[in-house]
Symmetry: C2
Subunit: 148 residues, 2 copies
Amino acid sequence: MSVSFRTARREDVPAILAMLDDDPVAAARESVEGTDVMAAFEAIDADPRNELIVAEEDGQVVGTFQLTFIPGLSRRGAERAQIEAVRVATPHRNRGVGRRMMEWAVERARERGCRLVQLTTDKVRHDAHRFYASLGFTATHEGFKLRL
Amino acid sequence: MSVSFRTARREDVPAILAMLDDDPVAAARESVEGTDVMAAFEAIDADPRNELIVAEEDGQVVGTFQLTFIPGLSRRGAERAQIEAVRVATPHRNRGVGRRMMEWAVERARERGCRLVQLTTDKVRHDAHRFYASLGFTATHEGFKLRL
């Protein structure tokens, strides 16, 4: 398996949206209409602290995730890297693509000088919990959400 | 109690650092030296998606938190607001300052058009869990961290 990574382009948005939607946990909550997806893409693309990444295999987009680099005074001024919206396309699951993605994300954070990588995952995603634990993450925190 | 809120200024940094340090859970992990706290302050201050806020009472800084507005393609392009580094100065705890702070933070997120407010809190902070639940947050997610 040869997976490569790059920043998402405008034309990747439909493939990314298809992956975001193809998920039973997310589908249960993705009912609210927001402003505009392409405007959101442009906002991410223009923001030096946000990176929307796609994983490619044989020229095809097989996965996606977003990195946000959050500056802060804690931890003596080091940025933390946050990972959101992790998805692997259904036909490509359980082949190690997700592992390659998260290893790449951690390496990207390290290379940027982040001292911490963080993410939250729904409590019902038991497979994901084992997956992140196997990558060295520890579930030290409760993830609280409030929908507006 | 009359608490007011404003964006932190450079001269607030020592007071904010004192509050960040005056916490047994954080103290246990805050051993790593990062780049530079004032550089981090300038980075936050210059970033339109990060807001470092202080709560004031009688002209004195009594609390702090940071808001990060994260753009994303999920939830139909709506931003999510993330709250980090929430602290109330020790002499001012258990008087409702934290509640006012989080109510203000949620209102700020709402006014900006965010569809979701999120935060993580250490699993050992049981009082904090009750506090956030009382504000309408639900602990639907596991918060995974990886220190680099």
